[in-house]
Amino acid sequence: MFGRRVHHLISEIPTGSICTLLEIPQGKIFRIVEIKGGPGLHRRLLSLGFHRGDRVTLDREAIMQGPVLVRNLTADTKVALGRGIAQKILVEPIGDNEG
């Protein structure tokens, strides 16, 4: 729905491939590009401190398709997200010099 990219963010980000939070390797730092899903979910994540541009890493994945543990480095919080929800958060890699 709001699939267009944010211009003021693009300039800072080195081009990389966009993927969902579920697809990234553990421990590497990524940046949130977009949060999809309905307004209800979107609002919850915003108020928990998940915004576009935040740096996140995937800390852990629980066994048997369980939830993922996401660390938000910008807010310095850890949040457990069900897979369906993690899938709605799009991220892209950032350079290794940061973090």
Binding site: R43, L48, H51, R52, T77, V79, I85
Partner: protein, 642 residues
């Protein structure tokens, strides 16, 4: 409630230590634990400081002023409807950056306000140094540092409260980028005279823009049609500017402002990785994590039994000898005295040795931050039985007492999950029932029997969840649960918490235990218990194969489960250690199983009724009763075959 005393509300994001701070000022009154969403209803207390009385209110935590969970709404209703004299915004200083987003939102209310930087100890451990004067200047409100868990900084806070109430200085709302400001101003000017203003026009306008797709939006549509189309076009303009929905743009504005303030007021030196981090890695490990989970709970019950059973034997002795000395007399007085001794003895010698260790250990797990972690680990299993990980902490809380566990279901977003969880909680053995299981089954039959009983109980809950899934359509919104940092529990806090719960137990359970016991001895003296026994005998002796004397104890069991089991001795006319001489092992298990499940105890039922309505309360009774009959009948059958 709002007499003439100034009303001060504690508001802040979940788990920032509001209730701990409240307790350190008002005495232990509010439950605390290292889990976001502990407080689900408000607590208030009158506090005297330097000759002035203040009415202090502790509210449930809320991430933002646009709530999504029922308990967050409680917080908001409070600040919108009962306009407080002063807002105390409590912040977890170790999460300063994120927490400031709510602070900025609160500033928009333009109520007199104080910011409390709590958990300064954790912030320092993280290597953060926060410049308070700088922060005060940026926010335009006084800032106080506290370490609530050690009661540090509360005096400074109260002094600051006193000053703020005298000056009544309202802060100035933060300003955003001019593209957003322009639209806010436009709406402020367009608000009609009769539009319900919350706090002030600016706040109302911002919230109206943010309310896109929410209930408030429909309200505006119905009552102020022309305004609605204007708001829609303002939203569109804001949204075009950043190519995101308007509510996200405003939220991002706050986010950036919060980060900016954070960077200007706080320096972070690189923190060392400490033992907490290491421990966290272990208990959250995808394989070892489950191993620890099992170990923690098995170890916990083993420990409770190990502490409790020698204590029980020791404490029972004087009551036993008293009872025996009375046995030769058969008048009313002796019978009543006997009842009294059984009641007091049951309350002290049987309940205390297990109850206190359980509360202490639960308190430790709660304050450590294990509840949320268990939720993460078990989420995947919970999905399979139609719930999700967020219900796990409630089941663990239920091990203490079912009542707060059912209240805690308020943090579940979906009504369906609330109902299913609340229907299952009465099957979780609470502290009182654990006492009985340990004191009877483990003590008389051996610890393995008790362990087996627990294991069976666990399977039963899973099975019932599957059954309920058939009736309540399952559509999971998926887990979203903040995992709080692991914290080293303070022994003082755990003790206070235990003492608080113990007091409640003594106040409510003891009168019933002792009174019930005396009444039963009176009933049996006048032979009136036979009426109940005869009436219940088809169930008790027919179906379950138990001595019909036990019928009357079930009536009391509705008040409290442990009562039925304690009264068993009296009904059968034997002492504790001789129990197995009058009933068999199978009968004991059948009875324990039946009493454990047959009905939620009175207080649990009352809370289900209050929280979820009469229909669910009746459903709960029906479910419990049918499960109890089925299970105890099966136990009887199974053991008769073996």
């Amino acid at each position: 409630m709002k007499d003439n005393f100034p009303v001060i509300v504690f508001i802040g994001q979940p788990n920032c230590g509001k209730s701990t701070l409240f307790n350190s000022i008002a005495g232990y009154k509010a439950q605390t634990s290292n889990f976001p969403g502990t407080t689900v209803t408000h607590a208030h207390s009158e506090v005297m400081w330097k000759g002035q009385v203040y009415s202090i209110v502790d509210l449930p935590g809320t991430y933002s002023l646009t709530p999504s969970e029922p308990q967050e709404k409680v917080a908001l209703t409070h600040i919108f409807k009962e306009k407080p004299d002063l807002i105390v915004n409590v912040i977890d200083a170790s999460l300063l950056g994120r927490s400031l987003e709510l602070t900025l939102e609160l500033l928009e209310l333009e109520y007199p306000m104080i910011v409390v930087l709590n958990m300064m100890d954790l912030a320092e451990k993280k290597g953060m140094s926060i410049r308070v004067e700088e922060l005060e200047k940026k926010l335009g409100v006084p800032v106080v540092k506290t370490i609530a868990i050690h009661g540090l900084g509360t005096k400074e806070l109260l002094d600051s409260v006193e000053k703020a109430l005298i000056s009544r200085k309202a802060p100035i709302a933060p300003r955003y980028a001019k593209e957003v400001e322009k639209r806010i101003q436009k709406l402020i000017e367009a608000l009609p005279e009769d539009f319900p203003i919350i706090a002030n026009k600016r706040f109302t306008a911002i919230k109206a823009i943010e309310a896109e797709t929410m209930a408030a939006d429909r309200f505006i549509l119905e009552s102020h049609k022309p305004l609605k189309s204007m708001i829609d076009s303002l939203r569109q303009e804001i949204s075009d500017w950043r190519e995101a929905p308007a509510y996200e743009v405003i939220s991002a504005e706050r986010h950036h402002l919060a980060l900016k303030i954070f960077e200007e007021c706080c320096q972070v030196r690189h923190a060392r990785v400490n033992w907490v981090e290491e421990l966290d890695n272990l208990i959250m490990h995808p394989i070892f994590g489950y191993f620890f989970l099992l170990l923690i709970f098995a170890g916990m019950f083993y420990l409770i039994f190990k502490i409790g059973s020698p204590l029980e034997t020791w404490l029972l002795k004087p009551f036993e000898s008293l009872r025996l000395s009375l046995q030769s007399h058969h008048n009313l007085l002796a019978e009543l005295l006997n009842g009294l001794i059984q009641g007091i003895g049951g309350g002290i010698a049987i309940v205390f040795p297990y109850f206190i260790p359980l509360l202490l250990l639960m308190g430790f797990l709660e304050d450590l931050g294990y509840l949320a972690r268990a939720g993460f680990l078990l989420d995947t299993f919970m999905h399979r039985i139609g719930l999700h990980g967020k219900s796990v902490p409630m089941f663990i809380l239920g091990l203490g007492c079912n009542v707060p566990a059912i209240m805690a279901t308020r943090i579940l977003e979906s009504k369906r999950d609330r109902i299913v969880t609340a229907l299952l909680i009465p099957f979780v053995p609470c502290a009182a029932r654990t006492t009985i299981i340990l004191a009877l089954v483990a003590f008389l039959l051996g610890p393995w029997w008790a362990l087996g009983f627990y294991f069976f109980n666990l399977l039963l809950i899973a099975f019932l969840a599957l059954v309920l899934k058939k009736f309540f359509k399952y559509s999971s919104p998926g887990l979203i649960l903040e995992i709080p940092s692991l914290k080293l529990p303070s022994l003082k806090n755990i003790w206070q918490k235990t003492y608080f719960n113990l007091k409640e137990f003594v106040r409510f359970a003891w009168p019933i235990l002792i009174g019930g016991s005396v009444i039963l001895s009176f009933l049996s003296y006048i032979k009136f218990d036979r009426v109940f026994n005869t009436f219940l005998s088809p169930l008790v002796s027919g179906l379950l194969g138990l001595p019909s004397n036990l019928g009357v104890t079930l009536i009391f069991g509705f008040l409290r489960k442990e009562l039925s089991l304690l009264m068993m001795f009296q009904a059968l006319g034997v002492g504790y250690q001789q129990l197995l001489s009058v009933i068999t092992r199978t009968q004991l298990l059948t009875f324990v199983a039946f009493v454990s499940f047959f009905i939620p105890c009175l207080s649990t039922l009352a809370i289900i009724w209050k929280e979820l309505g009469r229909r669910i309360a009746f459903l709960s009774v029906a479910l419990n009763l049918s499960v109890a009959i089925l299970v105890s009948w099966l136990i009887r059958l199974l053991f008769s075959i073996l």
